[in-house]
Symmetry: C2
Subunit: 370 residues, 2 copies
């Protein structure tokens, strides 16, 4: 199947092969979901011990800048998707020349660069925290004047799990942080006094069909997601608003696949009829850790939904059938399995050969009836 | 890990490898379930195009009587299970000498032979339809005198999807059927005028923990399962009784794994306080087509439950969270995918390269809220 066929919206049929860039747990769970729909997978990853290799029909071990390997990979599959947003633009473009890439380069570019992402959201009139670009010490001082302190200095690219960001409390602190990020494009954001963090996982297919899962309340520990809880501790109107914002983003990006939108929920404000305020924090153009709760309580989980969406299949049901808390197993916490499991604990283990402090090794969905 | 370790009830840990005899759709879905729990799989199957190979870390292509291949397979894994009950006894014994086999040889032997199975059930005082063994034309005539007509003549071994059985209406018909099955051990069963067929899928682990899924009503078409519907169209007391019978069987077999028990539901009987009567039709010592409905509506599905049970992990929740109809996709019906899907249709496609009339290619779970 050529990219032409797919962009003309023909669904990808069972027996086809999906290429996945990245062989971590997300790639692994995507491969499993694809297999349930009768689709083969081909994982591309530089790490010879990629956990996704174990459940995929094909794999390629090569770096993301190996043009020959990328080309061979792209020509051997019917469609390419990815498990992480930091796919190098060059690799994405090379693949796109050979075969359909979903979600598209537009979504990738926007989410790879905080500044682009913020400008994109601003243009859509979606509320975000105030920000200023920072490319020089002078700009930093100017930005602090505008944004104030406390504020957060972030690299525009390659930030995740708290990496690439520093809280700024004083001009001196700002100077040190700037030095630490020397040479990188930065952005200074106002520090948001949020009540809670939530996210919405949403899917859109090429036919324009959209399906969102309910928002989850997310709690981080050491900058790594610790738990996602559904139902989220927010007002119903806030949940509806969050889904409406995620829908707007997916539509404006002409998005194909599953996307996560992270929000800060701020205190009810008199000026806003005492409604909770929502600020978009980040967009992830992929399946997301905060959507793992869908695996045991929704008829379609986020992984199957992503595969359906990129293949332009009808999307599946997203209704939640039970209450759930998703908890990540980090590092040595994997040793709780299976001894520490209650009947309502539903483990998902990533098959990584070595555990390291801070490494995501698995997660557990704990379920209680509605 | 030696078989000794496992029989002393230590749970099998993530990172271990489960050997699976058989590479069809059941092996494939078992391999997927194992991967979710961080376990590797090694599929053993003579068919080089086995769909389970695509989702397993290792596979062996060899016949079930290749003793060297079986031995190598058995010594390379931490535990062996199977997707079909017709594993040759010799192969099962050879494997059992090397590594833990679950469900055990006892369950295999009992379910491989209709006569043994019926005697086993009779000893447990579990109601079944009247039967007589048939090994000669004289015995056949004698059996017809006792059982009457219509009755069903069945081979004691290797029957499935209606193969190996004939309805007997006359002595002449009996003679023809006998000739057709020449040389095989047979059993004549009374023909049961049933209201419906149901099955219970139940799991037991080495620690003795038991968990049953709700019964489903099963409808066959051309002797192949067509639909399973849950909730089943039976009285609540009948459902409770069916689960109690399945529990008794699992306990008496000291069963480890998931097992299906098929029942005939007969008309309410005055002699039995107008309660529906249950007759056990068959036991399958494995995950079962009539348990596929669990995949989209239970927190733990039958495949994960089987892996948990054979690994002696705590069993998972079996509560049904929605109403569901499972429909098999036979032969060309696979071509309905994905175009014919509604949002509440949840397809499971087996990745078979060729469709043939009568071949199970996939199934669809159609879900409606409770």
């Amino acid at each position: 199947m050529t990219s032409n066929n797919l962009s003309s919206r023909e669904p990808l049929l069972p027996g086809s092969t999906i290429g996945i860039l990245g062989g971590g747990q997300l790639g692994r769970m995507l491969a499993v979901a694809a297999s349930k729909l009768g689709l083969n997978t081909h994982i591309y990853c530089p790490d010879p011990e990629s956990p996704a290799f174990d459940v995929a029909k094909y794999h390629t071990i090569a770096p993301y800048d190996d043009q020959n390997a990328l080309k061979e990979f792209a020509t051997s599959v019917d469609l390419v998707t990815y498990e992480f947003e930091n796919v190098p633009t060059k690799a994405a473009n090379l693949i796109k020349e050979q075969v359909f890439l979903a979600p598209g380069v537009n979504a990738l570019k926007t989410s790879q660069d905080r500044l682009l992402e913020k400008k994109f959201l601003q243009e859509l009139d979606i509320a975000i925290s105030p920000f200023e670009p920072v490319n020089s010490p002078q700009q930093l001082l100017q930005a602090i004047k505008i944004i104030g302190t406390p504020s957060v200095l972030k690299t525009t690219r390659f930030g995740y799990d708290g990496k690439g960001q520093r809280i700024i409390k004083t001009a001196k602190g700002a100077h040190d942080a700037y030095k630490e990020f020397a040479g990188k494009q930065l952005v200074l954001e106002a520090f948001v006094e949020f009540d809670s963090e939530i996210s919405v996982v949403i899917a859109r297919n090429a036919s324009g069909q959209i399906a969102a899962f309910e928002p989850s309340t997310n709690i981080h520990k050491n900058h790594i997601l610790h738990t996602s809880t559904v139902p989220a501790s927010i007002e119903k109107s806030t949940a509806i608003k969050a889904i409406a914002i995620a829908t707007k983003i997916a539509e404006c990006l002409q998005y194909q696949g599953v996307m996560a939108v992270e929000f800060f929920v701020c205190k009810a404000d008199q000026s806003a009829n005492n409604k909770q305020m929502l600020l978009v924090n980040e967009i992830a153009p992929r399946v997301h850790n905060s959507g793992h709760w869908t695996q045991n309580v929704c008829p379609t989980d986020q992984f199957e939904q992503h595969i359906r969406a990129i293949c332009n299949w009808p999307l599946g049901q997203t209704e939640r059938m039970a209450n759930v808390v998703m908890r990540n197993l980090i590092g040595g916490e994997i040793n709780l399995i299976p001894h520490g499991l209650s009947p309502n604990d539903h483990p998902h283990i990533y098959g990584k050969s070595h555990s390291r402090p801070g490494r995501k090794m698995g997660h557990v969905n704990t379920i209680t009836p509605l």
